[in-house]
């Protein structure tokens, strides 16, 4: 618009100051993006949980198994459509540092239960026919440079010995948030080679007809197996994931605190800078008013400058955050994913603008209230 030369001219009056303020915004928003990514990584399980899935574990402790015979009993319960199971393997690949989740799964039901993981049919069929086969997530494959047909040795921990698997398939997730760091192999293969606890699974995942009936079914399932040597504890997938996250530590609180400190500081710095900038220009603002520019115009002028700085800084910060996530997980595999969704980017820019308005408001109001006669007298 016609007033842009005036706005831009003011911003470039002290180049260093504008650059530094834009930089401050960029830094703060970069952190915002980072914190959002960390939050997302920790609550990933909660975010992608299936609304129609329940998790059934042993009531005594999550490391206790459940009998395979429960599968049929579960299927008989009205409201349950599909049942699958899995065991945690916990093996070591080359070095204990190379941690990734390994699951012994039911090849008959895994795919239907978790449609968010997509494997090409021919790869899956090869896997089903190969006792020592494995399907790995594309994130995991990328991390170690694995390709189809590779033979992967994994050292068992609670079940000792070296186990070797053929990578028959690579899955990718439907959504960006889906975990592609998993390693699946045949449950039957595990059960064969086990010496103890044969015929036991780690946990069941159950698909129910009506998510609205989840609470009821949780009770029904646990009642079915109450007072047996293997009592169950059932939960929706979402709350199971949520309580897992809560054990990680009060991540939410930590993130909110850091975020709060950062934004408060940004607000202070920007507000102070804008106040100084306005103070320096009192004479000019008075002249504008003398020329016939309204008080409101001056208010909007100062606010627009503040908003522009915030916008540019915000976009820059978010862009840097996005680039950073593209470089991969800095903890090298400890987090299931390291991604900045568009909603966060939009949210970040919005927050930047909010800070821009808030920081610029006081100086803008001062400029608006400026009485020409007083200001000119000073000059």
């Amino acid at each position: 618009m016609r007033f842009f030369p005036l706005i831009f001219a003011n911003l470039f009056r002290k180049k260093m100051r504008t650059i530094l303020t834009v930089g401050s915004f960029a830094v703060a928003l970069f952190l915002f993006g980072l914190l959002f990514v960390v939050r997302g990584a920790f609550s990933q399980g909660v975010d992608v949980a299936g609304a129609d899935r329940l998790v059934v574990i042993n009531r005594t402790s999550i490391i206790q198994p459940l009998p395979l015979s429960y599968q049929d009993r579960l299927l008989k319960i009205p409201g349950i459509k599909l049942v699958t199971y899995a065991n945690w393997f916990g093996g070591v690949y080359q070095d204990e540092k190379n941690f990734f989740p390994q699951f012994a799964i039911s090849t008959e039901t895994q795919r239907q239960m978790f449609p968010e993981f997509i494997v090409p049919d021919e790869e899956w069929n090869k896997f089903v026919g190969d006792r020592e086969g494995a399907v790995v997530g594309e994130g995991l494959a990328k991390r170690f440079g694995w390709k189809l047909g590779d033979r992967i040795p994994i050292r068992g921990t609670f079940i000792p010995g070296t186990w070797e698997f053929n990578i028959d398939g690579i899955y990718h997730g439907k959504r960006v948030a889906d975990d592609t760091t998993q390693f699946w192999f045949h449950w039957k293969y595990l059960d064969e080679r086990k010496q103890f606890s044969k015929g036991f699974v780690g946990w069941y995942t159950v698909r129910i007809d009506d998510p609205g009936k989840a609470a009821q079914l949780v009770k029904t399932i646990d009642q079915e197996f109450a007072n047996s040597p293997w009592e169950t504890k059932t939960d929706t997938e979402k709350s199971f994931a949520a309580s897992w996250v809560k054990q990680f530590g009060n991540i939410q609180f930590l993130i909110l605190t850091i975020g709060g400190v950062v934004f408060f500081t940004l607000l202070l710095v920007t507000g102070n800078t804008m106040a100084i900038a306005v103070r320096e220009r009192i004479g000019e603002l008075a002249v504008l008013k003398a020329l016939g520019y309204s008080d409101v115009f001056v208010l909007v002028l100062v606010l627009t400058e503040s908003l522009l700085v915030a916008l540019v800084g915000g976009i820059l910060g978010m862009a840097l955050a996005k680039l950073f996530t593209l470089a991969g997980d800095p903890t090298r595999g400890l987090l299931p994913y390291f991604y900045l969704p568009s909603v966060a980017i939009a949210g970040g820019i919005f927050v930047a603008l909010l800070v821009g308005i808030t920081a610029g408001m006081l100086p803008a109001v001062t400029a608006m209230r400026l009485r020409v006669v007083d200001a000119l007298r000073r000059v």
Binding site: L20, R59, E96
Partner: protein, 389 residues
């Protein structure tokens, strides 16, 4: 070289709003920096203190932690006669232990955390020297009784002395509380190993690990060698402190990596803020600076005095930040031990070293933020500055 420090001090007082802003910016950064490091340090300290230099932790060869190790009784018997094992009036200082997890509700969130349950014998108190019963008594063998670590009582609901809890399909009574000096054991619940095996449907006389007190810290090597050379044994041994050190690695790495990134980025932001403040200060005061120069103070003197001003501001900010996080010291929080997936309570550890580090960080930010503007101040042509152009 006369330095117009007095002028700088007075200027700071006069333009106090800008100074306050810079101070707060640096304080915030230093605070977060120290908080993250003390979090990592607290976690690590809890775990590393858990080991004794004189103790060895024996697990099945090839296992990654107590959670996935399985040792049979006969192996334990052979172990008792190994060289280096300390002997007391009760016999060899060897404690076979069963480690499982059980869910208990956390006080902080109300949801369940996986608490580590350790099935032991009375020998455990002997072998783990830093564990002391501070209330009640040890459980009696063969009974459903528990002794609870002091952090466990603090972190989870229902674990007070005299209470009963249900887990593993049975009722247990809490008969005692122990204090292990702020180590991982403080987050645990101990009971009789045989009862635990029963309740968890494990075969009897199967253990997760064996803790051994050695005759001396140096006896470790001969002890280890005897294990590996004995064909009847499939065990590995390491110093207890090393075992716990490895356990802490994952979470400590996570906190340190993420925390460092956050602190570095915040540091850059703080430097930007400081630069902005100092540049503005210089431009607001250009006429005064020129006057001082005209009076005879040289460029170096002006630069030095401005840097001192920046250092003063950043020192105050650093000190403020350090002191602000001091209340965190000793604050108990919890996190998951990624190796065992059990919940571990630990405390923030704010040490004088960390606080010192924070102040140094602040001073570095101060110099970075103060030097370029100081140079600009010194280089301004005196004549035009005096004229106010």
């Amino acid at each position: 070289m006369a330095i117009p420090v007095i002028y700088n001090m007075r200027s700071v007082k006069a333009r106090w709003t800008s100074a306050v802003v810079a101070v707060l910016g640096i304080a915030g950064t230093v605070g977060v920096f120290i908080a993250m490091l003390s979090l990592a340090r607290g976690f690590k300290a809890t775990l590393t203190r858990s080991g004794s230099a004189r103790n060895a932790m024996v697990r099945r060869a090839g296992s990654t932690s107590e959670m996935d190790s399985v040792i049979q009784l006969d192996q334990e018997k052979i172990l008792e006669d190994a060289p280096g094992v300390a002997r007391g009036t009760d016999g060899p200082a060897v404690s076979p232990e069963v480690v499982v997890i059980a869910p208990f509700p956390m006080r902080s969130t109300g949801t369940d955390a996986n608490v580590q349950i350790r099935g032991v014998s009375a020998k455990a108190i002997q072998v783990h020297e830093n564990v002391k019963i501070v209330a009640g008594r040890l459980f009696r063998p063969g009974l459903n009784e528990l002794v609870v670590g002091k952090n466990a009582t603090r972190s989870y609901t229902g674990l007070e002395l005299g209470k009963t809890v249900r887990f593993g399909g049975g009722q247990w009574t809490i008969v005692g509380q122990f204090d292990s000096g702020g180590t991982a054991f403080d987050s645990e619940v101990w009971c009789d190993a045989a009862i635990l095996n029963q309740v968890y449907h494990r075969p009897t006389n199967i253990y997760s690990s064996i803790a051994v007190r050695l005759t001396s810290a140096d006896a470790l090597n001969s002890f280890k060698d005897s294990l590996t050379s004995d064909p009847r044994l499939t065990l590995q041994a390491e110093r207890e402190v090393d075992y716990y050190d490895k356990q802490s690695r994952v979470l400590t790495t996570l906190i340190t990596v993420l925390g460092s990134i956050v602190a570095a980025v915040m540091g850059i932001g703080a430097v930007f803020g400081a630069l902005n403040t100092m540049y503005s200060a210089v431009s607001e005061r250009s006429r005064e600076i020129a006057t001082i120069r005209a009076l005879g103070f040289g460029e170096l003197a002006v630069i030095t005095s401005f840097v001192i001003e920046a250092l003063l501001i950043s020192f105050v900010g650093g000190a403020l930040g350090s002191i602000a996080v001091l209340p965190l010291n000793g604050l108990t929080t919890g996190a998951m031990n990624w190796q065992t997936f059990s919940h571990l309570a630990f405390a923030f550890r704010v040490t004088p070293l960390l606080m010192g580090l924070g102040i140094v960080f602040a001073l570095v930010m101060g110099v970075a933020g103060g030097l370029p503007p100081a140079v600009r101040a010194a280089r301004q042509p005196v004549a035009s500055a005096l004229r106010g152009l």
